[in-house]
Every structure is written in C-alpha cells, then in structure tokens.
C-alpha cells in the first residue's frame, strides 16, 4: 500500500507555498536590550540571596531592557501592543523562575511564563494548541506544586536550592545564543518556498489558499455535505489536517503517549523485595 501511495505522488502535483523575504535590520538598541537582560539576571540571582539593593537594581535594569526592546522591535499592526504585553509577562515570568530560590516561587514563575505564552499563541489564532498547552502545563504545574510540597520543606531552603552552578557562565552562553538568534532573525533574507503534498485523500492542503490571510477552512465535511458548527474554522481546519495530511504523525504521537505511560508506571514502582 505504502509503495503504491508513494509512487502516485507527482512532483508537478505539489502545491507551492510562496516564500517571503524578511526586511529588517539588527539594531544596536536590541543588542543593548539583550545585554541589559543578562546583566539584570546576574544581579538578580546574586541579590536575591545576598543583597536586596542589587536585586532592585537588577529589576530596574530588566525594566529598562524591556523598554528598549519595545523601542527596537517593529510594531505595525494594532494588536502588537497586546502581544508585546504578553511577551513581557512571559519573559518576566521565566526570569523570575530562573532567579527565585524558593521552589514554590519558581513554579509560580514558570506558570506565569507558560500561561502568557499561551496568550501569545491565542493571538496567533492557534486556538487548539493554546488550549491544549494550557491544560497540559497547568496540570503539570499543579503536580509540581504537589511534589514541591511533598519533597521540599518550606521552612528552610536546602543548599542545592540556594547555590547555583556558575550563573555567569550560563548567562554568557545564553546571551551569545540570543544575540545570534536575534541577528539572524532580524537580518534581511528570504524564506524559501515550500512544497506541500496534496495527493492524500481529502487533503486540506489541496484546497486553495484564501486571499484574506487565513488558512484554508473546510466548509464541507468529508462526504461533501455543507456543515454548520460552532467550532472555530481554524480549529476545524486543524482537525481536518490532523486526520488527513498528518494522520501518521498523530498515530505516532498516540503511540509515544502509550509507551510513556507504561514507562512511567514501571519506573515509579517500588523495587521488589529480594527474598533471602
């Protein structure tokens, strides 16, 4: 079956999605913002244990870095401000997660970061992914809270919570990484056109792209009947793409989940008593 299906693909039959070029430049303001963030991280992680003034100075530097970043990034559409607020919340939460020494505070920072990035995903009209991420991560965070309350006494912090391993080195590596990413993203360049396989049965990718900047949305079900539903068209299209074009991937994801469940059960078992 597989061989036959693959032989039927004709390269001329593949739909092309045109690439677009990135206009942009890497401004020195952005560089300053990244470096300010790194310095703020170092000051905060030191100050949160040793010196309160350094902590406040670090927070102030972080705020200045955020303002600089807002000045540097191009913002043309009106929703950019809301998206920027979500991004600031996400980055601040992640920073608090990295800096905080109490495990419970760190878990709170993590929850803030993930929920705000879910807000960003909502604004990109990825409704299903945002909702699923929220459910999975909220569940994971609650479980983490449970674990933290179980394992770590809240009364006194342990040594391994307080002492970090070489924060200056990690901050340096991360700064280099962020600068590289920002540079390559903001530089001029072109995204190459991609091809989409449209030879599957009922393939969503075979439907023509609409002009108003929306992904193709199904208005008919698989038997050709007109559908009326309350599901947002983006989510319906995602579901249709999942079960036509990417069926194998979704089946594999299910398999991975099953295997991981079995593995977790095996790992969490109490070791059997050795009979003497």
């Amino acid at each position: 079956m597989w061989v036959v299906a693959q032989q039927q693909i004709d390269p001329g039959n593949l739909a092309r999605v045109p690439g677009t070029s990135f206009p942009g430049h890497f401004s020195k303001v952005m560089l300053a913002s990244v470096i300010l963030g790194a310095v703020a991280y170092w000051l905060m992680q030191y100050g949160v244990v040793k010196n309160k003034v350094m902590n406040w100075v670090g927070m102030a530097l972080f705020g200045v870095g955020i303002i600089l970043a807002f000045a540097a990034v191009p913002s043309e559409d009106p929703t950019a401000l809301i998206r920027f607020c979500f991004s600031v919340l996400a980055v601040s939460g992640a920073m608090g997660f990295v800096v905080a020494r109490e495990p419970v505070h760190a878990a709170l920072g993590f929850a803030t970061a993930v929920l705000s990035s879910c807000g960003v995903l909502f604004m990109q009209e990825a409704y299903f992914v945002a909702a699923a991420t929220m459910i999975v991560y909220a569940g994971a965070t609650i479980i983490i809270f449970l674990f933290v309350l179980m394992f770590a006494q809240q009364t006194n912090l342990r040594a391994y919570d307080i002492k970090l391993t070489r924060p200056w080195l990690a901050a340096g590596i991360a700064t280099a990484l962020v600068i590289t990413i920002t540079w390559s993203v903001a530089d001029e360049g072109e995204i190459l056109p991609i091809k989409i396989d449209t030879t599957r049965v009922n393939s969503l990718a075979a439907q023509p792209l609409s002009d108003n900047g929306t992904p193709p949305m199904p208005t008919k079900d698989m038997s050709g009947k007109q559908v009326a539903s309350f599901v947002p068209s983006k989510t319906a299209g995602l579901g249709r793409a999942m079960y036509t074009d990417y069926l194998m991937a979704i089946e594999l994801a299910g398999t991975i989940l099953l295997v991981a469940t079995i593995g977790a059960i095996v790992l969490a078992q109490r070791p059997a008593e050795v009979k003497s």
């Binding site: 980055v91 992640a94 993590f110 994971a140 970090l164 991937a249 989940l257």
Partner: protein
C-alpha cells in the same frame, strides 16, 4: 504585517529558550531542571506557531502538537524518575548522582580535594571480581583446593545466598 509579527515571535521564542537553558545549566534541584526543559519547549512551540501563521498552513501547528505530546510524556517519565531517585537518596540534588557521569573525567576544580602536590586526585577504579572459571558458586561442596579463592572473590551477596542454600 505578518513579517514583523513573525520576527517578534521568533525573538520571543529564542529568549524563552535561552532563559530555559540558563535555568537548566544553573539549577540543581531535579524538579526545577525539569521545569526549565518545559520552558525551552514552550519557546520552541512559539517558533512553530509563528511559522505556521507565516506560511498560512497547519504544518507548524501539527508539529507544536507533537512537541506538546513529547512534553507530556517527558513530564510523566521525569516525575516517575524523580520519585524513584528521591526514594534512594532522599535528596533532590542532581550532584548526589554525580557517580553516574564519566569516572575518567577529573572532578571540577571547586570540588576536587587538593592533594599534597596540588594536582587533582585520580579516582580509584574498582573492577568486579569474578568467580573462578568452571565453578558454580551455589554448588556445594567446593573443592578444597579452591575454597580459599572462592571466599575472597565471590561477591558478598552471592556468598550470603550460598549460606542460605546450605542452611536449607
């Protein structure tokens, strides 16, 4: 319009990924290491969604769902591992499991015990001792010529089990 949007989101994803990496490199509590990994995965899925929006198709969202699946599996397995590791040593410190790393690599300078000459002390290797060939460790009686060899070489657990079988 979409290009600036995508650029900002890519930078946001990179920043989240890097902060997660900082957490992974610096933190020592196993639970927080796991949370750092999840932060990195959140940055990756923001990247994927941004490209999905740019190309106006669902490939990125499908990949984000795959990332989410892997994150969920990782959560299950990591928490099970943390439980079973905590049961052994009653600590969440990753450095308690230092012996799982390569033994030939010298320890980090801040942890090494300085010897008289100021050099890093080499770890002592202990190789497993084997039973003399052709002998069943549980079989009794042992030939008298090999009795002494067996006593010194057999692992303590198996010698205990031989005592148990002889008593029975």
């Amino acid at each position: 319009m979409n290009i600036a949007n995508t650029q900002n989101l890519l930078i946001l994803g990179g920043v989240l990924f890097s902060i997660g990496m900082v957490g992974f490199l610096t933190r020592r509590s196993m639970i927080l290491l796991f949370l750092s990994l999840e932060t990195m995965l959140a940055g990756v899925s923001i990247n994927l969604i941004a490209f999905s929006r740019l190309h106006l198709n669902y490939q990125g969202q499908i990949l984000a769902i795959m990332v989410l699946t892997v994150a969920a599996c990782e959560a299950a397995i990591a928490l099970a591992l943390v439980v079973s590791l905590y049961r052994r040593k009653a600590t969440l410190d990753v450095e308690a499991w230092d012996e799982l790393s390569e033994t030939l690599v010298p320890k980090e300078p801040e942890d090494a015990i300085p010897s008289v000459h100021g050099s890093v002390s080499e770890p002592v290797h202990e190789f497993p001792k084997l039973v003399p060939a052709g002998l069943d460790p549980l079989a009794k009686p042992v030939p008298s010529s090999l009795e002494g060899a067996l006593e010194t070489t057999v692992h303590s657990k198996s010698s205990r089990s031989t005592e148990a079988t002889t008593r029975a």
